[in-house]
């Protein structure tokens, strides 16, 4: 019975994720797209919880789903017209898009098939400590380089936004 419920939960989550992901692409309203994307991210976060990866699930909520709020603001500010809802920029390259998406799916299927999946799922009960240990001991150099790069991007963005005249 436990197995059955677990499978059921997985398929419900998968349907939510796929459905909202379709909605992101199909919706003609940019803000609706962004909000559906939040729903999709929350679904993915739930999937992490379902797999006992608490930290990654919380991360998904915090960074991805929280970040969408800023995306919505951008969408409203950049596309809101004086009349009617903001539109999604659509174009007519349906065949090209179909080809690209098909290729991507093929690559993904190849990756999924060729990746060896370890038998018997095991997640350490204390993911946070292990992640911290990896980031701050084993991979300290890449971690610091990434942090410096992000800081440089942040400072650069502020300087670009402020312009030459001030400060």
């Amino acid at each position: 019975m436990n197995e059955m419920i677990s499978t059921l939960v997985f398929y419900v989550l998968a349907m939510v994720i796929l459905g909202t992901a379709m909605g992101v692409v199909m919706s003609r309203n940019l803000v609706h797209s962004a909000l559906l994307m939040t729903a999709c991210f929350i679904g993915v976060g739930m999937l992490f919880f379902y797999l006992d990866a608490d930290f990654l699930g919380a991360m998904e909520f915090m960074l991805y789903s929280g970040g969408v709020a800023i995306l919505v603001v951008m969408g409203v500010m950049l596309t809101k017209r004086h009349d009617g809802p903001p539109g999604n920029p659509f174009n007519n390259n349906t065949i090209l898009a179909l080809g690209g998406a098909g290729l991507f799916i093929l690559v993904m299927i190849g990756v999924v098939i060729s990746t060896p999946v370890p038998a018997g799922g095991y997640v350490s009960p204390d993911t946070v400590n292990e992640l911290a240990d990896m980031m701050l001991n084993t991979y300290i150099l890449p971690f610091e380089i990434a942090a410096t790069l992000l800081l440089a991007a942040l400072v650069g963005a502020i300087i670009l936004a402020k312009g030459d005249g001030e400060a």
């Binding site: 019975m1 436990n2 419920i5 309203n29 803000v31 609706h32 909000l35 939040t38 608490d54 930290f55 699930g57 919380a58 991360m59 909520f61 915090m62 789903s65 929280g66 969408v68 709020a69 800023i70 919505v72 603001v73 409203v76 809802p85 009960p125 204390d126 993911t127 946070v128």
Partner: protein
């Protein structure tokens, strides 16, 4: 392992259910439903009590009389308010984004209710004691921004949209200092688990060890829950209640309920993170201490709101980025040095 009245009550309830049903997963489900119902009842009742406080005690502090006609001394005023809200006409304005507009107040309640699962009310009395408790809690609280923005956008009104935008700006500006302030606590505890954080305060409360973080936390908590003097999202005199300008009746009441739920939530969080949670002298059981501290915190937060005038938007945002964030970072550094020195000695 655990002691306390609430814990043994829950245990005996579980034993009775197990002997009645026998299937462990169904017992778990039933127990969760019972706990969730109790928490929702607490949430709804607290809204009633806090409304009364908002009107009676606020009037006392501001040297006014306040409501004094309904019931003895105006005690039934909040019940009357509730009946009035249910009776109001449900006005749906034209030109709105119908689905988002309807969903916004409902979705707003979801994160506010969800976080109650992570609060340790007594020794061992916590619905979900996950490993990343505090982090997950912050992640879920930050989700309250989107429904506000949704409502502001969907109302198709200038004031609402401005209010929605302000939510995002203040979330960005104050979430970061709050997380850094709480980092000090996590560093001392060495765990993100809520029960471990309370356990670590059995001797010394974190308000003593982390006074700077406590100050930052109470400021950011007021901002995050849209309480005056930092309620720039509503700003009745500037943007006419912001995201919920266009809502009436029960839909508006949902915004109201979420606000009071958030108020109690920051009270509980202050208690749990800084004031020792359910710890206290032995003559009262743990959950009594917990609620006494929580209500004192809520009273304090409301008191601040009744006393100070509303802050200006721009000064508030620059305060968050230019003052609170550096102080929070310094606090992290000091805590690190402190822990190092303590370990060496």
């Amino acid at each position: 392992m655990h002691s306390g009245i609430l814990y043994s009550l829950g245990q005996s309830l579980r034993e009775i259910l197990t002997s009645l049903i026998g299937v462990p997963i169904l017992v778990d489900l039933l127990m969760t439903i019972i706990c969730a119902t109790i928490l929702l009842l607490i949430m709804a009742t607290s809204a009633l009590v806090f409304t009364l406080g908002e009107r009676k005690i606020c009037a006392f502090i501001q040297v006014r009389i306040g409501p004094n006609r309904v019931g003895p001394g105006g005690l039934l005023q909040s019940v009357a308010d509730m009946l009035k809200l249910m009776d109001k006409e449900d006005i749906v304005p034209r030109g709105i984004d119908k689905w988002l507009w309807v969903l916004s107040p409902i979705l707003l309640l979801v994160p506010s209710a969800l976080i109650y699962a992570f609060f340790p009310f007594d020794d061992g009395v916590i619905l979900a004691d996950v490993n990343v408790g505090l982090f997950l809690l912050i992640a879920i609280t930050s989700q309250t921004v989107l429904p506000f923005l949704m409502g502001g956008y969907a109302s198709n009104s200038k004031y609402s949209l401005i209010g929605g935008m302000r939510t995002v700006a203040q979330m960005l500006g104050y979430e970061v200092p709050m997380v850094f302030a709480l980092m000090g606590i996590v560093m001392i505890t060495g765990s993100l688990k809520m029960s471990a954080i309370v356990e670590a305060q059995s001797d010394v409360w974190f308000i003593v060890l982390q006074p700077l973080a406590f100050l930052i936390y109470i400021i950011t908590a007021l901002v995050e829950s849209n309480r005056p003097p930092f309620n720039i999202v509503e700003g009745e005199s500037e943007i006419i209640a912001g995201p919920f300008t266009e809502y009436t009746g029960m839909r508006w009441a949902l915004f109201f309920l979420a606000e009071f739920s958030n108020l109690m939530c920051i009270g509980i969080l202050t208690t749990t993170l800084f004031l020792g949670g359910w710890h206290g002298p032995d003559f009262l059981p743990g959950f009594c201490w917990f609620w006494i501290k929580t209500f004192l915190c809520v009273l304090f937060y409301q008191w601040v709101g009744w006393t100070f005038p509303r802050a200006r938007v721009d000064s508030m945002l620059s305060f968050g980025w230019k003052v609170l964030l550096p102080i929070a970072l310094i606090n992290v550094l000091l805590t690190g040095v402190g822990i190092y020195v303590y370990n060496v000695m």
